[in-house]
Amino acid sequence: MNDAVARARVRSIATTLAVALTLTLAAAAGCDSRREPELPSVQEKLRESHIYGQPRLRIGVATNEPLMGELRNGVHVGFDVEIARYIAASLGYQGDDRIEFVPVSTEDRVPALQGGVVDLVVSSFSITEERKKLVSFAGPYFVTTQEVMVPTRLKDNIRTIEDLRDPKYKICTSGGSTTEAELEKHQVKALVVKDVGDCVEGIRKGRYDAVSSDEAILAGFLAQYPTEFQIVDMPFGTSELLGIGVPIGDPALRDLVAFFLQKSYQQGRDGLSSPWLTAYNRTLGPWLRAEKRQPQPLDVPKLVDFDDKAPRR
């Protein structure tokens, strides 16, 4: 009997503890259900960014780089432009009537961002330490290498970096580009013009003998003049990471752009069709020698968005 009473007492203490703990947990759950999300949301970042409330998004693009950024019959086309459209739509600017494409030359990209002429630059913009001091980058969204394109008549003469150093050949590149610095590093004297397009025109008119730039840009010109040029694979040894330029004073916008690039990256990695893949297949894809994939963006912030609860599988 005593044993039964003792057991009943232990039992009632256990029950009391269980009831008390359950009530505590229920109260904790109630508080948890009412608290704000810890991570910032996309919407919060948007409100922090300078573009919030702007009727149109101004994006700096190239207009004379076939396949990357080109103005054709009054319409902006190209891989960079498609990426720019995706980012703009993600930020709430869908359709070309909400986007103002601002033509920027290679050397104008940094000043355009610094001067507030554009909100973003999507124009074969290589991420470098030097530039990072002046503007912010989200990305990379494309990895390319530096190459040289020669007219068909010189395809057997210019094969190596050594050949480029030969003073009889006039090498052309665009000013303010990473290629300019890279050629200098390899002691190649280059003639610097405004855009790669000017180099290509110059070669066609006989002013220059070769042009050096990113593979993606050169592939665009090759697509334009497939019989006149050839790309020569040269071991410059560096890869170019193309990023989206953002004003340095707007980290919220940089975070958002990086977040949406990551979203596309994840879609592609899950085997789904991603905005990046669509842009690539429609523009660069058929013209590059090796198939490319979207690189993983760096420094992607963790943000909360409305579709976070959607099933992943």
Binding site: A4, A18, T22, D32, P37, E38, K309
Partner: protein, 361 residues
Amino acid sequence: MSAAAATAAGGAEPPVVILPDRDRAVADRPAREDDHDLSERRARASQSFWTAVVGVPAVFSVLRLGVEAGGELQTTLLLVANVGPVNLLAGFLTTAARLLSTVLVAVFAFGAVLGVSVDRMPSPGLRRPLFARWMEITPAWFVAASFLLALVTWPLLYLPLLVPAFVAAFQLTPERLHERPGPRVLIVAALLGVYAWLLLPTLRDAWRQGESLALVLLVVPPLLALAIAGPLPGAVVRPLAPITQIAVLAMLVWAALPVISTPVLPLTVTTVAADSGATQDVRGHVVTTDDVNMVILQERGGVRYVPVEQVRGQVLCPSEEELPRHRLRIRDFHVEDSLLEGLGRRVRPVHRIDAACRAVG
């Protein structure tokens, strides 16, 4: 609790327990008197219940309309004129089902615990607590239905709490699983094993993310369920009975506030063309559309009449209250989704946020 009451409430035979001699007096009350009293109370409770079923949603819905209208009388009247009673009620049930089931579950769990505790108390003079009386007169099917409603509407993260609540409401002691201790332990271990297998990846994620509350909420409740059935000591029951009543009432008010302020109409962004050709996005709830105007209750307040021919497009947008707080999933079901929501997302897995929803705040 009398035998008849326990059967009515639990829908099963009461657990076999050895009562001390002095408690037998409570259990052996004249059965006829109890039956008569119970049936009368049931009849009265039934009336009150149906009054509450009709009245509470109606009052809540009207309150919600007032809040939705931003406290403006004319806007409230505009909403009253345009939101049908059926839509209003359906909208109320959609948003309030979680609250409703929580209150019912709390009442029944407390009722059963208090009921069984008062029955075993040495001095039978104590008046039975309110929730215990409610629990007694509620048919078992209604209690079960309340738990079912909670099962499908509670967020998965809080769902484990339903286990101790269910065990408490039906006073299911582990002894009910098997009469011998050996098989009983095996059954409990197997059940907990299955539970652990189901949750293991989530628990690992929660640990990695440092989500200690989520970890505790997922792990502890099933263990508490093992001990929660049974009477509480008299010293605990006496203060607990009034406290729980106040607590449930406070919870009701606290949880009802967000329900009252949840919008009645869906949130949309309407693209409107201005005379100059430019477009403007109007974020708000469409109250009604006729041949001439689309009436939009703007998110930031005020009603706007937009001529129908100026409307260029309209998209449905999520509201910021729907943003998740956790980044945990249980077998690909987000922990803040209920079972119903999780299943719904599987039926329509692609969720796209329209650009227009981002552009304006």
